[in-house]
Symmetry: C2
Subunit: 396 residues, 2 copies
């Protein structure tokens, strides 16, 4: 398979990304980075292929393709290898010096995969490239922001069909299945890339009633019991009850990038407390949209959100009731969970062109989860919403 879409625009785009990686390499004192994970290969090429890319601080990147992957015509510095053990000899023959330090993806590769690559560079200092690459990916290019905005538009179109998906007497899972179909027909690819090993999920999460307060072993903001002990997360298969909220936090991945958007519906009626909490979530977002300027520490967003929830007397329900999570948002891009995590102890300053999902949610006993999540881009004027869609608590 060839690297598709290597249009002049895409070449320029990849040059921008390489520059960002090099900047992060310089800060991390890393002479070279060998990319091997699917996520980072996609970042550096615009596609997924079998192979490796060596980013050097002082010369063009070298691409190593493993069949059946092949290089596109006229693509420079690209070589076919059959196994990574061929990389050092190739570098030697091509006259490259052994890098003094080389970064490998400690947080993205399996131990055995990484050890294999490490053994290729016995003379180099081995550094963790995952942080370098996460830092490069933390701020987005214009192209990437456009991709995430496109995602948001697709996701909004799918969400507009949610009320039509609901039929009387449905379970949360049955509703989710119909929404999954609508998302897929809208172009959702259905595969959710996430960092780490604590994010197993099908196409997203539909949570209703007390299931919202069921803890899950995963790192999602809301839990849910799931329907089988092998995947204890999300919808629990119970009939949606009048008076309960139905929170949809479904997959927004249509083009290799993801948008993260949560909206909340309810069946027949919903308590005043739930309405108040939902409006509080919206007020938190309005506040953070202005507050989140480049230079502001990420922690401030978390602290302010908690403050607003507490001032409304809703602290007990904020980000869970029996089981609380300690963040209100996260970076997003190729992976659902990128940098920065929006939590109290993260003093990282916001940077222009970061894309972050903010999800101030509440769990109201016997009602379920309420609140809104949007994906935003950080601009000089505050947050630009990439997931425009009515935020009101809506009747199913």
């Amino acid at each position: 398979m060839k690297i598709p879409y290597l249009t002049p625009e895409m070449r320029g785009e990849l040059d921008l990304r390489i520059a960002k990686i090099r900047e992060a390499m310089a800060e991390g004192d890393c002479d070279a980075v060998l990319i091997a994970s699917t996520t980072n290969l996609f970042y550096i090429s615009g596609t997924v292929f079998r192979g490796y890319v060596l980013i050097l601080s002082d010369s063009d990147p070298v691409w190593f393709m493993v069949p059946p992957s092949v290089a596109p015509d006229g693509f420079p510095h690209c070589h076919t290898i059959h196994k990574p053990e061929m990389i050092p000899a190739w570098l030697h023959e091509a006259g490259y010096a052994v890098p003094r330090s080389i970064g490998l993806e400690f947080d993205d590769l399996l131990y055995s995969e990484l050890m294999r690559l490490k053994s290729l560079f016995p003379e180099s200092e081995i550094k963790n490239a995952s942080g370098v690459l996460r830092k490069a990916r933390m701020t987005k290019t214009e192209y990437e922001i456009r991709k995430i905005r496109e995602d948001g538009m697709h996701q909004a179109r799918a969400y507009s069909k949610v009320p039509k998906c609901y039929k009387e007497g449905m379970t949360d899972l049955e509703l989710q299945i119909e929404v999954e179909r609508v998302l897929r027909l809208e172009g959702c690819l259905g595969y959710l890339r996430a960092a780490g090993s604590r994010m197993e999920l099908n196409l997203g999460s539909v949570i209703s009633g007390d299931n919202a307060d069921m803890p899950s072993p995963y790192d999602f903001s809301m839990g849910g019991a799931g329907v089988d002990p092998s995947l204890p997360v999300g919808a629990d298969g119970k009939t949606i009850k009048p008076g309960c909220s139905v929170m949809l936090d479904m997959n927004g991945g249509f083009n290799g990038y993801q948008s993260d958007m949560t909206r909340t519906w309810y069946l027949e009626s919903v308590s005043e407390l739930a309405r108040k909490a939902h409006e509080c979530s919206r007020r938190i977002l309005r506040d953070l949209e202005k507050r989140a300027l480049p230079g502001v520490p990420v922690s401030e967003l978390y602290i302010k959100a908690v403050e607003i929830a507490q001032a409304d007397g809703l602290g007990d329900y904020f980000m869970g009731h029996r089981n609380k999570v300690k963040f209100i948002g996260h970076g997003i891009g190729i992976e659902l969970n990128e940098q920065p995590v929006v939590m109290e102890r993260n003093r990282q300053p916001l940077l222009k062109n970061m894309t972050i999902a903010l999800e101030p949610k509440f769990v109201i006993p016997h009602v379920g989860a309420v609140g809104v999540e949007n994906t935003y881009c950080v601009t000089d004027n505050g947050l630009d919403n990439l997931t425009e869609f009515p935020e009101e608590l809506q009747e199913l």
Copy 2:
């Protein structure tokens, strides 16, 4: 969250699994194994939780739960910790000796995850527990075989609705989306556990026409171009054409275990060559069903399959045409790709109660992929088919 379903039956089941792990530990000369991966935690507990299980050769396993996961009432040897760094001190206080050698999951944990655990046992020899656990999981208990058979029955019920899913003028992807819905309504959990990092996919694969011969960077038996460069695999979104085959290899995961079943349909008509190849796939399966007795080397299945295909003059199309793969099947259980891989160089003897998926497939130019895949259990009388469903080439 508590470990659910710890019925007396399940306790007995877990004892069987622990015995199998200990046997593999003895063969691997491993005093202890610390389990941390989701897949193996599910194997040893019947659920997914946050935490660790220490399997010792000479005393009961010790369970470490990390909140929000909690132990079920009356569950012995179970302790709450907040981070893995608390494990060594706990063991010391409880009077356990430091294990001489300890196995960690080299092929299942990220490098950084594994290094963190490794640092807890500076005095122990660190061994690769992935092989130990894969070996234990390679043969299944009666309970596990029942689970996979249940999967196969669900999958068959979903496949029986495939012709109803098809509407004139549909693309491969549109058909796939309708089949995904049927699978989900039948109880498919939608999350595909697979070993390694080369298996990204939504709910499975629908391949039609020349897309069957498009190479993919992933480790699936058939490729496909996909519809987006971020996920170059499977359906390519083209309208299904008369005279083309439509091969469905969709997710059969309903209960934490998986069944793998491929069936092939066609639109309006299909060439004699394609019909002949499809019947050859069925004859290969009939032959292997008798041949695959305990003790027979796995390689023999591969060699015999190639021999039958070549004797029919179909060698050029077997397991791909332009792009061939070098296996005809694989173990299956909690993960889609377990041991053994059915390929020429694997001399591993078949063992009673292995569960393997056999998928002798052909790619016929301008038609697409044809053939059948079943999931089997190895018995003293040959293979027991866990995925009963008509195998004929069927009209859509």
